[in-house]
């Protein structure tokens, strides 16, 4: 395989990973807001969120592997797991390692949620709000293409999407399709003290 091909693949897969991760976060926020419409039940949002999260890991793996395997990068496999251990662009690459590991932790704890319990899962899931911006900064700092129009446009769109989703979450209350059945249950399940 041509070395340049590896390099293009790394860059292409990096961009795709960023887009996928952005979609994952936006879907996660929409999940928390319990957004739904006719023909789009809530489990569709959470299901897509989960599927795209796994997909992100796949393309991230492609991004990392092609970068490490590329003979010209002189990156060892260690740089993929130990942050700030590369001699090349130590800081910015290290950020990428961190973002990757945060994402890995989130996915692994999600798969093992039955074993670790709901609270632990939830705690680790908050890392997502760290993982994404770190990934964006990694892309800006490490990338060859940062100022290329195409990646600039992608980065801007992703940032706008996440900022808008967070803004939406903060301002809009979550709609609650369960409000009525929950109220019914609570009315039936109330305390009636005898003595």
């Amino acid at each position: 395989m041509s070395d340049t091909l590896l390099w293009y693949t790394t860059r292409g897969a990096g961009a795709v990973s960023l887009v996928l991760l952005t979609a994952v976060i936006v879907l996660g926020i929409l999940s928390a807001l319990r957004v739904q419409a006719a023909g789009w039940p809530r489990f569709l949002t959470t299901g897509l969120h989960r599927n795209l999260a796994l997909m992100t890991l796949v393309f991230l793996a492609l991004h990392i592997v092609t970068a490490v395997v590329d003979p010209f990068t002189h990156l060892g496999w260690l740089t993929a797991v130990v942050p700030f251990s590369s001699s090349y662009r130590t800081f910015w690459l290290g950020l990428g390692t961190i973002a990757f590991e945060l994402l890995l932790a989130i996915v692994v704890t999600s798969l093992a949620r039955g074993y670790i319990g709901h609270a632990a899962w939830r705690l680790v899931h908050w890392f997502t709000y760290a993982s994404w911006p770190i990934a964006v900064i990694h892309g800006i700092g490490t990338g060859t293409d940062t100022w290329s129009a195409w990646l600039l446009a992608i980065t801007v769109i992703c940032v706008v999407a996440v900022v808008a989703a967070i803004g939406f979450r903060v301002t809009a209350g979550s709609r609650d399709p369960l409000k009525e059945p929950r109220t019914t249950f609570q009315a039936a399940a109330q305390r009636r003290e005898t003595r």
Partner: protein, 389 residues
């Protein structure tokens, strides 16, 4: 050897305090040191989880500094279970003895009797028995009505009801023994467990028996006190034998396991023995399904019930269980087609592990056990005229 149901004829009313003391002697004055006796006895809880009672008391006592709360769980949310009601109606003082011992052992400030709001006989019996007790015991006790909902019998629901007024179950920590009612360490114990405790305090060991409810196609359905390790077949015989040859047995109530009757007969009724086989006795309901009734239709009906009993805290349970119940009902009422089983599998996977409490998982496991034990019945089900129940 003593049994829980020894003494006064069960056809008569509750056993009063005088008779109780005459038969068993006065309640030993035991404090925190009793917990060691309880641990040595190896008594496991009778509420369904079979967690060692002694260990539970140890955890609560360790956290308590006089602030603990004891919840006497007589809610019996499982519809076909009758054992807790029976104990409350016939042997209330065994339960109150156990509660008193618990309160002293964990140094509780309050004791709450959690009894089903519709279980009038039990409530009356416990109230009368409580009135006979010593002042120093009665002072700590209050009675709270458990709502008539399936989930209300769960420990976390009991704690929530007593604490903030609504019987909502959860799995979220903290657990009751750390922070329960009013943030105090809370001991939630089933009434049968406490009845055993009352006897352990006098004899040093449990009775070696347990209470089961035999329900469904038997001649004398109801509660039995059986020796541990008694087989399912023997229990069914004691309940009068099957009214007609059964196809299926449901062991452990609506969150339990389905079995072909032939495989169930030899099973020993004992928590540890069953757990070793990957089964659970749960709250001790043995449901015998006669061959004249259809497994698929029963499963559909129970799934509809479990779906309707959702506390609507989360989407996977409320919408997911409803969807599973819909799919089961479709199979039951119009017959199965090639997509139905796949649909059940796919939709079950979407629900498992995603609930705010264990209710959806219990229902899914119930359905899975039916599907794995009776795949042909599901796959080949055809609509049939159902007898009005």
């Amino acid at each position: 050897m003593t049994r829980l149901l020894d003494g006064r004829d069960l056809a008569l009313g509750p056993e009063g305090l005088a008779e109780h003391v005459q038969r068993l002697g006065p309640l030993p004055a035991a404090g925190r040191s009793f917990i060691d006796v309880l641990v040595r006895s190896g008594l496991s809880g009778r509420g369904g989880a079979a967690y060692p009672a002694g260990l539970k008391w140890q955890s609560v006592a360790a956290q308590s500094n006089g602030t603990a709360v004891v919840i006497v769980n007589g809610a019996e949310g499982e519809p076909r279970s009758l054992k807790d009601r029976l104990l409350m109606t016939k042997r209330p003082h065994l339960i109150l003895d156990g509660a008193s011992l618990a309160a002293r052992a964990v140094r509780a400030k309050h004791v709450v009797l959690y009894i089903g709001e519709e279980h009038h006989a039990a409530r009356e019996s416990m109230a009368r028995a409580l009135a006979e007790r010593k002042d120093e015991e009665r002072r700590l006790v209050r009675t709270v009505a458990a709502p008539a909902r399936y989930v209300a019998g769960a420990s976390s629901a009991a704690v929530h009801l007593v604490d903030d007024g609504i019987a909502t179950p959860t799995t979220a920590p903290p657990s009751a023994h750390e922070r329960g009612v009013d943030g105090a360490p809370t001991l939630v114990q089933n009434v049968e467990t406490l009845a055993q405790v009352a006897l352990i305090a006098r004899t040093g060991s449990s009775t070696g028996t347990l209470l089961v409810t035999v329900a469904g196609g038997v001649l004398r359905p109801g509660v039995l006190e059986i020796q541990a390790q008694t087989t399912v077949a023997a229990a069914v015989e004691l309940a009068g034998g099957a009214s007609e040859p059964p196809d299926a047995v449901l062991l452990g109530g609506y969150f339990g396991t389905w079995m072909k009757a032939a495989n169930a007969w030899g099973l020993p009724l004992d928590h540890d023995a069953l757990r070793a086989r990957g089964l659970s006795l749960g709250c001790g309901v043995i449901g015998v399904l006669p061959s004249s009734r259809c497994v698929v239709c029963e499963v559909a009906g129970i799934m509809r019930y479990l779906a309707s009993e959702s506390s609507a805290q989360c989407g996977p349970c409320f919408f997911g269980l409803r969807a599973l119940a819909d799919a089961c009902t479709a199979i039951a009422e119009r017959g199965a087609n090639s997509e139905d089983l796949q649909r059940l599998r796919r939709w079950s996977a979407e629900v498992s592990g995603r609930g705010a409490c264990h209710h959806p998982d219990g229902a899914v496991m119930f359905l899975q056990s039916a599907l794995t034990t009776f795949p042909d019945e599901f796959a080949g089900h055809r609509a049939h005229l159902r007898l009005s129940a």
